[in-house]
Amino acid sequence: MLNINTEKNGNELTFKLSGRLDTVTAPELEAPVRNDLADVTSLTFDLAELEYISSAGLRVLLLAQKTMNKQGKMVVKNVSEEINEIFEVTGFSDILTVE
């Protein structure tokens, strides 16, 4: 199960994720990433309560990063040790801005 808490403040958008970002739930995040970033210049993913991420979830983060490369900045924060290790193994630590 995945819960997405969205906070929008002008051109700043934050997605707070809790639960699991896997093959089954990744489409729930892919939809707003594809549709709701039009006027966003600062995108934040808060992963404090994210328990699990699989390659399907990484795909969506990369998609968001590619979009934000063109129109602003993207930050990923509150990453757990387990998820950070996945980022490192996949080279995502170099692609994403992890705070």
């Binding site: 896997d22 093959t23 089954v24 328990e51 699990y52 699989s54 390659s55 399907a56 990484l58 795909r59 990369l62 998609l63 990063q65 590619k66 490369n69 040790e81 387990e82 290790e85 996945i86 193994v89 996949t90 080279g91 170099d94 692609i95 994403l96």
Partner: protein, 136 residues
């Protein structure tokens, strides 16, 4: 040793992970290793669900066993779909920038990185993929 026979469809991913997590909890597996195993299970199961029987569906047989007093787990997936060795796929170049990176193609790479051994064989009309992981 425990076994699960289940229809290889994406909707069944949670049932597969529950089966695996239940076994891992019996062995007092750490959360970190459980996540690495779940991740690998998901990639393999979704691969089978997506390609093995396409456009139809079929079953996958998952076998879980531990050895060396529960310090190592062996998980195998058997399906009788089209012969396919996922390990033949080239690893993605993880040094590329986000612009150059392909969206996708990370699944099997993550499995190889997170497991101690991954083996594939095609035998008697079955794809058999085995994962081995030391859990302590």
């Amino acid at each position: 040793m425990s076994e699960l026979r289940i229809s290889a469809t994406k909707e069944n991913l949670n049932d597969v992970l529950m089966f695996i997590d239940n076994e891992l909890e019996k062995l007092d597996c750490s959360m970190k290793i459980q996540m690495q195993i779940d991740l690998s299970i998901e990639e393999i199961f979704i691969n089978i669900a997506s390609y093995a029987y396409y456009p139809e569906t079929g079953d996958v047989f998952i076998n879980f066993e531990s050895e060396n007093d529960g310090s190592t787990v062996l998980i195998s997936f058997t399906d009788n779909g089209v012969p396919y060795d996922p390990l033949e796929k080239d690893d993605p170049d993880i040094t590329l920038t986000s612009e150059e990176r392909q969206v996708g193609g990370l699944g099997i790479f993550l499995v190889k990185k997170n497991m101690d051994e991954v083996n594939y064989k095609y035998e008697n009309g079955n794809n058999i993929l085995t994962l081995k992981k030391k859990i302590r």
